[in-house]
Every structure is written in structure tokens, then in C-alpha cells.
């Protein structure tokens, strides 16, 4: 536990919560059994960073989970796997079988008196089930909707027991931390959020893919150096730096360090580290519309601002995008988003509002043109 705290590891699922702190809460709770849930729901558009771990190196994750189980005193782990990853399910199940056979999982691991069992639970395709309390509901067999906090899962989680939910990538960092020590780990990358980070770059770059780089690598470098820059001679227009629910950055605002501390200052968030790169052939109204279509579809329906707000936003955006916008629509969109922002039950609704706010902030002219001309200037 001390080693983890010393490492400064922060959760890779999006919120960046200090992992050691989260664990110490769960450990301090005297209730037993405790559950360890691995969040492999990876449903955020643009995000595909956990997939290579799940498919290419499942034993890394299993090892990380065994270590966590040992530290936490948890004997049962589940991997909540995104329903749309059937190949990963097969691979994980095979790996778990191997681990059991090699006695790396079971009642008495390697004869060391440590017990840890692991199973895969496949989701049914709801993005919201990536939110940790919805994930818990879902694993309990209920409808995936977030729970009220407090009580936090570390005290009252799955089956009302202390529960840790950690991202795939977070857990996969553990073997490395144990191997090199917390101190050494904390020297990698940014000071306040150290360690290596997986960045998944998609869109109009020459070399889309998953890059493991030190936390805090400059966004510009990720795009231009690692991912090879904009493809087909295009010109960069905008970047969504951390998955669809993080606010968009215009081309001139991408000189910033990609970590949990610097990104908010730059006007967005690190999120899952899913960098979506868009060149100047992209219509931002259409991007906003597609994003809202996603959010409206994925809203779980629990709270009014998200359930109704995403529906309204999507309908207005659909109209504007088709060139049927009216005067006042931009103000209406801003108003709806503003009411939603910070008032929804969970961050999904905030994300939806944030997309619209960001788009209008940086690309208001495109919305105005759509309304004025009755069509898209890019005729897409």
C-alpha cells in the first residue's frame, strides 16, 4: 500500500483519482468480503487504449489484479468487460484459465496462502456502465444506472460491501510499480501525476494508434511527432483531447501538457487520453450533432437534465445541421447546456453539455453560417 501511495499513481479511467488513497479507504473499512472490480467497459468514443492490454497482454492485468487483491485483502475480482469486445472476452477467459492452472489464481496462490478469484463479466452495451456505481449495479444484475454518493463504493459497493473499481490501465501499472518501486515510478512523467500513459490517437493523423508515453507529454508532440502529423496534407482544425466528453480545443490551443493538472488549465480535460484529431474538412456542427446523438442514446434516463436535455440538444442540433436552424437556436443551445452543466446526477450529462458549450465557444461562426445559409459551408 505504501509503495502504491509513494508511486503517485492516479486512476487512468478518466477522473484521475489517486489510487493509493482510494485503496486505503476500502482497506480501512472493516466489512468483508471486499470486491475488486476492473473497469474494462471502455465505451467512450475515441477510446481504445485498454483494448491492447486486454487482447495483447491479459496476464499483465491479471497480475495487477492479484497484487491489488493481496494489498486490499480482497479475494474476489471481476473484470467488467465491454460487451462489444467479444475477442477480448475469449482471450481473457483463456488467460484466466491459464492463471488458475499455473496456480496464479485460486484459494492458495503459489502456496503463499493468498486467495484470489477472478471472473469476466460482459456488459450489454451501455456506455453508462463504465461509471463506477452503474457498473456495480450492473454487476449485481440490475439496470445500469449510477448510485447516489455517498456512501462511496469503497464503503458500500457491490453487494453492499467495500469495493474498489479501477481502470484496466490503472491496474496494469501495478506490476511495474512493484518491479521498479514507487519512488522510481514517481519520477516518470509529470510530477503531480506520474507514470507512463497510454494515448490513443485517432482521426486525421498519419499514424493513428495507441502510444505509451510519459504522462505530461505535450499534445502537440503526440499529434505531430508520434502520430506523424495531419494526413493528406490537411490542416489541423480541432482536437478533442480526452474522449468525446472532454471539451474541444481549437488548433491554436494544443500546446499543452497532457496530464490531469495541466489540461483543465488549457480548457479541457485529460479524460481517458483519447485524442481525436480533426482537420479542416470537418464540420463542427456535425461533430456536435453526432456527439449528442451518442449522449442522447447513452443517457441512462435517471436524471431530468440529462434525459431531457440531451434529447432537446440533439433535436435542435439535427435541425441546425440540416440547415433548418432558426435565429435564436444558438442561444437556446447554450441555455440548455448551461442548465445541464453541473446539475446532472453523474458526469455523463456534464460531458454532453460540455461538448455543445465547447463547440459554440470555439466554432460559433460555423453554427451561424448553418443558420444563415441554410446549409453547411463544407457541404458535407
Amino acid at each position: 500500500m505504501e509503495e502504491i501511495k509513494r508511486s503517485g499513481l492516479r486512476g487512468r479511467g478518466g477522473a484521475g483519482f489517486p489510487t493509493g488513497m482510494k485503496w486505503s479507504f476500502a482497506k480501512a473499512d472493516p466489512k468483508f468480503p471486499k470486491y475488486l472490480l476492473c473497469n474494462a467497459d471502455e465505451g467512450e468514443p475515441g477510446t481504445f487504449k485498454d483494448r491492447p492490454i486486454l487482447e495483447k497482454n491479459p496476464h499483465l492485468l491479471i497480475e495487477g489484479m492479484v497484487i491489488s487483491g493481496y494489498v486490499l485483502g480482497s479475494e474476489y475480482g471481476y473484470i467488467y468487460l465491454r460487451g462489444e469486445y467479444p475477442a477480448a472476452a475469449d482471450i481473457l477467459n483463456a488467460a484466466i484459465k491459464q492463471a488458475y492452472e499455473a496456480n496464479y489464481l485460486g484459494d492458495n496462490i503459489n502456496g503463499k496462502g493468498v486467495k484470489f478469484h477472478l471472473a469476466v463479466h460482459q456488459g450489454a452495451g451501455a456506455y453508462i456502465c463504465g461509471e463506477e456505481t452503474a457498473l456495480i449495479e450492473s454487476i449485481e444484475g440490475k439496470k445500469g444506472q449510477p448510485r447516489n454518493k455517498p456512501p462511496f463504493p469503497v464503503n458500500v459497493g457491490a453487494w453492499s460491501m467495500p469495493t474498489i473499481v479501477n481502470n484496466v490501465e490503472t491496474l496494469s501499472n501495478l506490476p511495474y510499480i512493484i518491479e521498479i518501486g514507487g519512488e522510481a515510478y514517481s519520477n516518470i512523467g509529470s510530477k503531480e501525476c506520474p507514470g507512463p500513459k497510454l494515448f490513443c490517437v485517432s482521426g486525421h493523423v498519419k499514424k493513428p494508434g495507441v502510444y505509451e508515453l510519459p504522462m505530461g507529454t505535450n499534445l502537440k508532440d503526440i499529434i505531430y511527432i508520434h502520430a506523424g502529423g495531419i494526413r493528406d496534407g490537411g490542416k489541423l482544425k480541432a482536437v478533442i483531447p480526452g474522449g468525446i466528453s472532454t471539451p474541444v480545443l481549437p488548433a491554436d490551443a494544443i500546446d499543452c501538457a497532457m496530464d490531469f493538472v495541466a489540461m483543465p488549465k488549457a480548457g479541457s480535460m485529460l479524460g481517458s487520453g483519447a485524442v481525436i484529431v480533426m482537420d479542416d474538412s470537418v464540420c463542427m456542427v456535425r461533430v456536435a450533432y453526432r456527439a449528442l446523438k451518442f449522449f442522447e442514446h447513452e443517457s441512462c434516463g435517471k436524471c431530468v437534465p440529462c434525459r431531457e436535455g440531451t434529447d432537446w440538444l440533439r433535436k435542435v442540433l439535427a435541425r441546425v445541421e440540416k440547415g433548418k436552424g432558426k435565429d435564436g437556436d444558438i442561444e437556446l443551445l447554450s441555455d440548455i447546456a448551461e442548465i445541464m452543466m453541473g446539475r446532472t446526477f453523474c458526469p455523463l450529462g456534464d460531458g454532453a453539455a460540455g461538448v455543445v458549450m465547447g463547440m459554440i465557444k470555439h466554432f460559433k461562426n460555423e453554427f451561424e453560417e448553418h443558420i444563415k445559409n441554410g446549409r453547411c459551408a463544407l457541404s458535407c
Binding site: 439496470k143 447513452e298 434525459r307 431531457e308 435542435v316 442548465i339 446539475r343
Partner: protein
């Protein structure tokens, strides 16, 4: 102690509550929609947002726990803007069909928009369209109006425990739907209807027939169906009941109701109601006048009293009538007719068991608060399904189970199937032996308690003669559970009282209650079984449970009542029936009951009544029994008169008049008229006047007034003096039950949706459950090639009937169940009985049955 500041007002809290509740305590109202005080907080609507110092975002007051030093603001420019915005969101897909919606006028959304909402909407897109569903007989479901607050779902899951509905679909497509899709097919408690804030779930009983503001009278009263005595509110327009609703937090039911209480009220407006007295002329019942009818009754009874003596007259009182009715009735039979032959249908169960329990363990032993069930750690359920007989009491058991109590069931109890922790199912009709085995086992560990020497002696006798242990799964665990429980409640239904030697089951339960220091609850089908006993409607006791054979008591009543009370012992119900058959009873006066239907072996009972010289029946309907009468007198029913009722906790409650009935007279009034004509004057101005007399003459009811009763907390032993009981009869050690080896045995089903004479005249209950079905276990049905809905011929030694089959896998033995709630098809027409020697209840066990698929 937590102190916080809300709107500059300092609030100090006794115990931790949410900011919303803290504000309410301080008289500050925060608008809410998904919150309901009876339900767990949800946090979905976001209307209750408040500003909290040092918290960056607005917080929802319903989910945020108040903390010491918190500074909260519930109103501000910013907050108003958010609330306005949320309400605008709620309306974008809402049909806004208030002029057409039944909820208008009491709709929370309408009120909120009126107070906090926008005056114009900016939504120009298409609205979500979902057609209103009328596929259920009772509820209309309008999902365009649904605000997805989940109050209905939380109610159905967390309070009712039926889990019949859910929010289907996701996000913007969320809608409430029953799991069975079209029809609700549930327990029909209607509690979801109570909590729906909008017009999304509506009752079809009164759809489009009135507006909430058109109610011209609203009366808080109690339910007329069972022994729980739930509080409810009757809303009246033009002298007719428009609807029955509960009130959150009110009464023993705390704002919940069951199907009978909520939807069973229509019988009172039934076309079948008697409107004038009927008199038999030339063998036919003909309409008559009050003066003629009362004259004939007084004349004939006086004549029989003169020629054959008072003991040739008998009376049957009613557990559906009030304390006052029953008090006046027994006084009339004793004083005007000169007979102690007075009993009631309750002899078939409750009265029989209750008396024996009190004899064994002392008066008041069955007197426990329903609330107390929730705090038990073990609840032992025997002899019936509490969730069907006394649904609201059943909910307390479910609640206890949610709180972690162990629910152990002996026999079948469908409504607890998902709540029980242990179920022991003995071979048919051998539950009694299991109870005795438990008692012997428990006493083996606990030893004699030494408080009730007679009971200790009885247990010792039982232990001495007890041979061998039964090899039944779960019995040892059951014993250990009871022995290890720090607080036990025993819920005892009447099924085991109605056995050839039912008193042995009663003794075993009494013994367990005594040794385990348990709380004992008797299930009670009818609203005033306890009150009827306490009012003196039993052959051997005067009002207040005073034994007739104790001279001092008798003397006191004789002074108060101004005349001698007959010496001769009275007859119990079945002795009255026998008396009618052998002509020792010549006249029978039945107030508010239907023995031909409500007693086993209908044909036998009918013959007995036909053998009488004179039969008077006072009722609401021309019942199977009234059809045999010489004079039929139309009475007033529930909501038409005022009176007190004593529930199974022995709480006395006021049932109030709400409408002016067109015809009929109060039961007590009819009786005092007859009494006067027979020369024994009874001059009561109203029911309260009668209660004043009861309070004067009966030491149990000393100083009791309507004022006190109407407060709802009138609990045993009031201000009175209960008697200490003394044992009369130890269990007769009859041979163990014979082997029951037939394939199937017929037994009584107590259905949730019916009570009998009243419920089958309530259209809503008839819609929910239109005909009797034979309940049979799935495996057994398969063996007979029977499928759900197939018709079978059910044949017993006493007769045969044709009914559809309904598969019920919660029946775990080879009983088949049939209810006794439908005309012409009652189970009781298929059963014969033998009397228990001690309790005098009818034993209806071992009824072999043949089933043939039609």
C-alpha cells in the same frame, strides 16, 4: 446534535437527516418531484437543488445529509433559474393535456410549474408519442405524462415488495412498465398509484368521472375488510363514494393499502343492496314496511320466548359490525330474548383460538402492535399466508425480512415466497405434529419457565407422551433458529385451528410463545373479530371479557342492565346449528352474516336454518342466508354509519359515516327498536351514546370516549383492567393424525383479492379476480396433464364443482387450494367438518379430492 444554517435560520437536528428534511423541520419548503417521504431518496429530478457554502456545485437537498456547520441557501436567482430550466425540460415531451387528465388539480408537476416554472416554452421539436395503455382492468398507464421519477417502482419494490413494475428502456425512452407488459398482473395494492406525482398511473374505477376539487366531502375512516383496520380517506360527491385513498403516514398502515381496502369499496353502491324490509308471505319474501317487519319480529320472538323459553332463541353477531352493534345485539339476546345463545362466524377460527390462548396465557396475550413485527429478528409464520389474509400486516413481515430478520414458514405462504429464509413443509395435515415436536424440543433446552404452572404442566405431559422425532427437512434448523432468536414473533393463521384437533396446534403455539417469550399475532379475516369478543358476542362472556360464570361480574351487569341475565350456559355457533336441527333452537336472529356461505358443509347448514321456526336476517344484501329468512331487514354498511372497531392488535378505532344512505337502518338501531317492542327498552341516540354506556358498564372500557378513540392510539388495555386468565382445558392427547395417503387433498385458499359476500359485489375486485381457480402445484398438474386455465371437475364426498386450474408452485405439498369467495362455487359447499372438542371450531382436514380434466 447537528446544527446547520438554512436561509439564515439556525436548525438543530435530533438525528441525522437530509438537508431537505432539515429544511422541512424548520418550516422551509424546497420543491421536489422524485422525493417521497415514504421512499428512499433518489436524486433524479434535480428540482431540490440548493446552494451549500464551500461546495462548488448546487447540491440536491434530498440526497445530501445535513452536516454540522453547513450553511445552506434554498432560494436564489441562480437556483430559480435551474428549477425553471428543469421544469422546462420536464415539459418538452409532456403532452400538457391537463384539461383531459384526471390528475389535474392534484398534480405535482402542474403545481410546480405554476409556482416555479417558465411561463412560455421554447420547445419547437416533435414530442415523444406513446399511446395511453388501457390493457389493465384497473390501471390506465399514460407514459407521455410519466416524469420517470421512479416513485412507483420504489414503492412496488421497497415497500410493497411485489416487484411487479420497472422502468423499461433507457434515457429518453424510459417508461414505467409492468413486467407482465400488458396487464399489471400484480398484487393490485395501488400503492404505486398513490405515489405517482402526475397522471401517468390512473385508476380506471373513477376515470373521467370527477375532478379532485369537486369532492364535497372527505372523511378519514378505516377499512371494512380485515382485522388490520387500515386508515383511509373516503372522498364523496353527491352522496356517493368517488374513491378511497390512503394518506401518507396515517394509521396502522402508514399510508399503504391493499387491493381490498383500496378498490373494494364499490359494494356499498351496489345495485343489489336491499332497499326495504322483506317479509315471507305464503312462502315468498315480499317487500314490506319497517313497522310491519319490526312488529312481526318482536311478536314472533316474544311468542317463542313465552312458549319455549329464552333458550330456544339464538343470535349470531357479526365480525363486520361495530362494537356498538355487537354490544347492543348481545344485550338484546341476553336481556330481551333471555338467552346466552350468542356467537358468531368467528367461532370457526379467531374467536376459538383467541379464547384458548387467553385461557392458557392470560388476557391480552394476542395483543401486539403490528409495527413491532419489523423489529423482530425471527418471525415464525404458521397456518396461513399473512400477505393474503392481512396484507398490511404481511408488509411488515416483508419489511422485517429486508431488515435482515429471519422469516421461517411452516407450510405454504405464497406471498412470503421471496422473503422467507426457511420453509418447512410437512406432509399434509401434519403441521400440528411438527409444532408439538418443536415445543418438546424447545422445552427440552429451555426447561419449564415456571410462570404459568398449568402451561408448564401441559408441556411436560406432552413431552412425556411424545414419541420419536419427525424426519422432516428443515425441522432441526427451525428449532435452532427459534432457540437462538433474541426476539421472536409468531404469526398464527387460522388454518391449523380448523383441524380435527386444532386445539393441539393452539396449545403448541401457546407453549412456544410462552417459552420463547415471543410476541403472538393472530391473523384475522374480518374487521371486528376481536371487538365482537370484547363486546360480549360470545356465549360465555360478558362485555370486556368477563366470564359469565363469575357471579360478581354478572351481578354488576344485571344492575346496570336492569334485569336478570339468564343462568343457563349459552350455545356456541355449531351448537346453535345442531340446536336448530334438533329443534332445541326455534328462532335465530342473524345480524350481518351469511353462515350458509361462510360455514363448511353449506347443505348441512342450510337444512339447519330451514328447520327453524323463525329466522331473522339483518344484512346489506339478500345473501344465501337471507334468502331463507322469514324477515329480512336492510342494514347500513361501511361509510353509512359511525361505530368503533377493534383490530387484531386490539386497537379501537372509529369508522365514520361519510354518506347518507337512501335506505336501511343502523344494526344497533334496528335491534333496539325490536327490543323496545319486546318490552326491554333501549334508547340510544347514536353510536357514541352506546360507547358511553359500554365505558360505564364494562371495566375494560372504563372512561373510554369517542374523543380519545378518534385520536387513533387507543390501545389495549385502554384504561381498563384485563383479567388474568386461568387454564381450563389442557390439550387432550388424542392419537396422532391418521395417515393421509390420497393423491390430493382439498384445502381453503384465502385469496388476496376477496373476502366473500362483500368483495364479490365490488366490480373492481371481480375484474382482478373474476372466478375461483383451483390452485395446484406445477409438477402435480403435469402428472394429471393439466395446464393453466384447463377446467377440472373437483369431486369430494360432499359434492363436486367445475373450476379452471391455476398453477402455483409455491404450494409445496399435495394440497389443492380453492377459495370460498364465489357464489355457488364456494369451497365450503364441498367440505364437511368435525368439531374440535376444546375450541369448538370446525375441523376441515383430510378432505380427499378427485380431479378430472374436462
Amino acid at each position: 446534535m447537528i446544527t446547520l444554517t438554512i436561509n439564515d435560520k439556525e436548525v438543530t437536528l435530533e438525528k441525522p437527516v437530509s438537508v431537505l428534511e432539515a429544511a422541512r423541520q424548520a418550516g422551509i419548503k424546497i420543491p421536489t418531484l422524485c422525493y417521497h417521504e415514504a421512499l428512499k431518496p433518489y436524486g433524479g429530478c434535480r428540482l431540490c437543488v440548493v446552494e451549500v457554502e464551500r461546495m462548488p456545485k448546487l447540491q440536491t437537498a434530498c440526497t445530501l445529509m445535513a452536516a454540522d456547520g453547513m450553511v445552506v441557501k434554498t432560494e436564489s436567482e441562480g437556483i430559480s433559474k435551474v428549477r425553471r430550466g428543469i421544469l422546462e425540460f420536464l415539459l418538452i415531451n409532456h403532452p400538457l393535456d391537463c384539461p383531459y387528465c384526471d390528475k389535474a388539480g392534484e398534480c405535482e408537476l402542474q403545481d410546480l410549474v405554476n409556482k416555479y416554472g417558465p411561463t412560455v416554452g421554447r420547445y419547437k421539436e416533435e414530442k415523444r408519442k406513446v399511446p395511453e395503455s388501457h390493457k389493465d382492468q384497473i390501471f390506465a398507464r399514460n407514459m407521455e405524462r410519466c416524469v420517470v421519477c421512479t416513485r412507483c417502482v420504489r414503492m412496488c419494490n421497497d415497500q410493497q415488495g411485489a416487484s411487479a413494475i420497472s422502468i423499461m428502456g433507457r434515457g429518453n425512452h424510459s417508461r414505467m412498465e409492468p413486467f407482465s407488459s400488458d396487464s399489471f398482473n400484480c398484487e393490485y395494492c395501488g400503492n404505486c398509484l398513490t405515489v405517482c406525482p402526475v397522471g401517468a398511473i390512473l385508476s380506471r374505477l373513477y376515470m373521467h368521472s370527477f375532478r379532485p376539487w369537486q369532492v364535497d366531502n372527505e372523511v378519514e375512516t378505516i377499512c371494512s375488510y380485515c382485522g388490520v383496520g387500515c386508515s383511509l380517506v373516503v372522498q364523496v360527491r353527491d352522496e356517493s363514494i368517488k374513491r378511497v385513498i390512503p394518506r401518507t403516514g396515517l394509521g396502522v398502515n402508514r399510508g399503504l393499502l391493499c387491493s381490498r381496502g383500496r378498490f373494494g369499496y364499490e359494494y356499498i353502491n351496489s345495485q343489489d343492496r336491499l332497499t326495504t324490509p322483506l317479509v315471507r308471505k305464503n312462502g315468498k319474501l315480499e317487500q314490506s314496511t319497517w313497522s310491519e317487519a319490526l312488529h312481526i319480529v318482536a311478536e314472533r320472538l316474544s311468542g317463542i320466548k313465552r312458549t319455549d323459553g329464552g333458550s330456544a332463541i339464538a343470535g349470531i353477531g357479526s365480525p363486520r359490525c361495530s362494537n356498538e352493534d355487537n354490544y347492543v345485539f348481545q344485550k338484546f339476546i341476553r336481556m330481551a330474548c333471555g338467552s346466552n345463545n350468542i356467537d358468531s362466524i368467528s367461532r370457526t377460527g379467531y374467536a376459538a383460538a383467541q379464547k384458548y390462548f387467553e385461557e392458557l396465557l392470560g388476557q391480552g396475550i394476542t395483543t401486539n402492535l403490528i409495527e413491532g413485527l419489523k423489529n423482530s429478528e425471527v418471525i415464525f409464520v404458521v397456518g396461513g399466508d399473512p400477505t393474503a389474509v392481512n396484507p398490511i400486516l404481511g408488509l411488515s413481515i416483508r419489511e422485517a425480512s429486508r431488515r435482515g430478520a429471519k422469516i421461517v414458514v411452516l407450510g405454504n405462504a405464497k406471498g412470503l415466497d421471496r422473503f422467507k429464509t426457511l420453509q418447512v413443509v410437512p406432509p399434509v395435515f401434519r403441521e400440528m405434529e411438527v409444532l408439538e415436536e418443536l415445543l418438546v424440543g424447545v422445552s427440552g433446552v429451555k426447561g419449564a419457565r415456571g410462570e404459568k404452572l398449568d402451561v408448564d404442566k401441559g408441556i411436560r405431559m406432552l413431552s412425556d407422551t411424545y414419541s420419536g422425532s419427525m424426519d422432516i427437512e428443515g425441522i432441526e434448523e427451525l428449532k435452532q433458529t427459534l432457540l437462538n432468536s433474541p426476539s421472536t414473533s409468531i404469526v398464527f393463521g387460522m388454518d391449523l385451528v380448523q383441524r380435527a384437533n386444532g386445539h393441539r396446534a393452539v396449545f403448541a403455539i401457546a407453549g412456544l410463545t410462552y417459552l420463547l417469550e415471543a410476541r403472538l399475532y393472530l391473523l384475522s379475516d374480518r374487521p371486528n373479530e376481536q371487538g365482537l369478543i370484547d363486546a360480549g358476542c360470545v356465549p360465555d362472556m360478558l362485555p370486556g371479557g368477563r366470564p359469565l360464570d363469575i357471579h360478581d361480574f354478572k351481578r354488576k351487569f344485571e344492575t346496570e342492565w336492569g334485569g336478570p341475565i339468564p343462568e343457563e350456559d349459552g350455545k356456541t355457533l355449531f351448537e346453535i346449528i345442531e340446536g336448530a336441527r334438533n329443534k332445541s333452537v326455534k328462532a335465530l336472529y342473524i345480524m350481518g352474516d351469511n353462515p350458509v356461505f361462510n360455514l363448511p358443509d353449506a347443505q348441512y347448514i342450510k337444512e339447519a336454518l330451514q328447520a327453524l321456526d323463525f329466522l331473522v336476517v339483518q344484512d346489506l344484501f339478500l345473501s344465501e342466508t337471507a334468502q331463507l329468512a322469514d324477515v329480512v331487514l336492510p342494514a347500513l354498511g361501511w361509510t353509512e354509519k359511525t361505530g368503533t372497531y377493534t383490530n387484531l392488535e386490539r386497537r379501537i378505532q372509529l369508522q365514520k359515516k361519510a354518506v347518507n344512505a337512501g335506505s336501511g337502518m343502523e344494526d344497533w338501531k334496528i335491534i333496539s327498536e325490536v327490543s323496545g317492542k319486546m318490552g326491554y327498552k333501549m334508547a340510544y341516540s347514536d353510536a357514541e351514546d352506546i360507547m358511553d354506556e359500554i365505558a360505564k358498564v364494562s371495566p375494560l372500557y372504563r372512561d373510554l370516549t369517542y374523543r380519545e378513540i378518534s385520536k387513533g392510539n387507543c390501545l389495549w388495555p385502554y384504561h381498563g383492567e384485563p383479567l388474568r386468565g386461568e387454564i381450563h382445558e389442557l390439550p387432550a392427547m388424542v392419537d396422532a393424525a391418521s395417515d393421509f395417503r390420497a393423491d390430493f387433498y382439498l384445502a381453503l385458499e384465502k385469496p388476496l383479492f376477496h373476502s366473500g359476500t362483500l368483495s364479490r359485489r365490488s366490480p373492481a375486485l371481480m375484474k382482478i379476480c373474476p372466478e375461483p381457480t383451483l390452485k395446484i402445484n406445477g409438477a402435480a398438474a403435469r402428472k394429471l396433464g393439466l395446464h393453466e386455465g384447463n377446467r377440472v371437475q373437483v369431486t369430494t364426498a360432499a359434492g363436486s364443482s367445475e373450476v379452471p386450474v391455476s398453477i402455483d408452485d409455491t404450494i409445496k405439498d399435495n394440497k389443492v387450494l380453492l377459495s370460498n369467495n364465489f357464489e355457488g362455487q364456494g369451497l365450503f359447499s364441498l367440505l364437511t367438518y368435525t368439531l374440535d372438542p376444546v375450541t369448538k371450531a370446525p375441523g376441515i382436514e383430510g378432505c380427499e379430492v378427485r380431479l378430472i380434466k374436462i
